[in-house]
């Protein structure tokens, strides 16, 4: 703990308090939405209009601006979910549990979008909707992991017990994350190798790369918005008998 600056520690301690989290995210939300809309507009304009056509794939490659950021998000959100779940397991922080379970449906959606856009891209380029190569299969397993987390949480009535069970499932599933990332390097796949996330410099022209990165950041903001909204609802539901929720309701009446 001594390595982390004091204000950061204080921020996280305050955020772990449900009433503070609830009011803070309420004030934060409009900013997140504005940044998300600006980034998405810039990214889509850059990707669909400004960026040139590809030398081989023509205009069809433009689905990259949805497919690749979604696929990145599917891995990123899984890591957030597993780490938050782990923090919930060790320190028994209610908000960490809530962040973990609120991430699952958002992550599952991004995984689904990545799979569907990939399939739509595969048909004209590869000549097939789907193949069972290592990359596609491991990404499909990721979708099932997300669905497993959501299902397990719903199946257990006591939500604190449910959170613990879900965290263990999520942590075991972390094994799949490096497999997805390195699948295209460890095995022969029909899916291409990494374009941006490799040690070498990205093998994508800079005019195509900038909109891609903009979309990647914009999707991060979308995740924050969707996850925080879910977390606020889940928090109210769990704390419905707490004094701060009763105070808030009587104030708004």
């Amino acid at each position: 703990m001594f390595l982390i600056p004091d204000p950061v520690v204080r921020f996280f301690h305050r955020m772990a308090s449900p009433p503070h989290f609830y009011s803070f995210t309420e004030r934060l939300m409009p900013w997140l939405v504005v940044i998300f809309l600006l980034l998405t507009a810039a990214g889509l304009y850059g990707g669909l209009y400004l960026a040139p056509a590809d030398y081989q794939q023509g205009d069809s490659y433009r689905i990259i601006y949805i497919h690749v950021p979604s696929a990145w998000m599917s891995l990123f959100i899984y890591m957030v979910m597993a780490v938050a779940g782990g923090i919930g397991l060790v320190w028994r922080i209610k908000l960490a549990e809530i962040v973990a379970i609120s991430s699952a449906p958002v992550g599952a959606s991004f995984t689904f979008i990545a799979l569907v856009t990939g399939s739509l891209w595969g048909k004209p380029m590869w000549g097939t909707w789907w193949v069972w190569d290592a990359r596609l299969t491991s990404e499909l397993i990721l979708l099932f992991l997300y669905l497993g987390v959501i299902g397990l949480y719903g199946a257990i009535d006591d939500k604190r017990t449910a959170s613990r069970a879900v965290a263990i499932l999520a942590l075991v599933g972390v094994v799949n994350i490096p497999i997805i990332h390195y699948s295209v390097e460890w095995w022969n796949t029909l899916h291409q190798g990494p374009t941006v996330t490799k040690m070498d410099k990205p093998s994508i022209h800079v005019s195509m790369l900038i909109p891609l990165l903009l979309m990647a950041i914009s999707f991060k903001f979308y995740y924050l918005i969707a996850m925080l909204q879910r977390a606020r609802t889940e928090l109210l539901l769990r704390e419905r008998n707490a004094q701060w929720v009763k105070n808030m309701i009587s104030e708004s009446k």
Binding site: I64, V90, W186, W187, N188, T189, S203
Partner: protein
Amino acid sequence: MKPARKQRLILIGLMVLGAALATGFALKSFNENLMYFFSTTDVVEGKAPKDTLFRLGGMVIKGSVERPNDGLMVRFKLTDFSKDVTVEYTGILPDLFREGQGIVAHGKLNEQGVFIAEEVLAKHDENYMPPEVKGSLKNQPAPVEGQK
């Protein structure tokens, strides 16, 4: 850190490590099955299965594509830059099929060692650039094709 928390943290660490090890060993033992296709070297060295369908991946050699009779049958050579295999395919090729392109074909070998494909899929690479940039790259000395 309180002892109970420390214990839980260690327990979780061990659990993740165990899961990783188990998966690692499983993937290592199934390594062959996880390969989506055989390389042309595998075929020439006889590692590819006989009499059964399998996938063959490689790059279409420049200038090797020919249509021996007027039909849809097309014959070309695949390479992994060390060994070549001749492929015959009857049907419609994907848009990205061209000389110098990586492809994956599904089919089997005949007695002459020619690969009779039932399906041909194009494998595009990880490079994205505008056509002008590709044009200017062509005028420079050709880069070494470094596919491992």
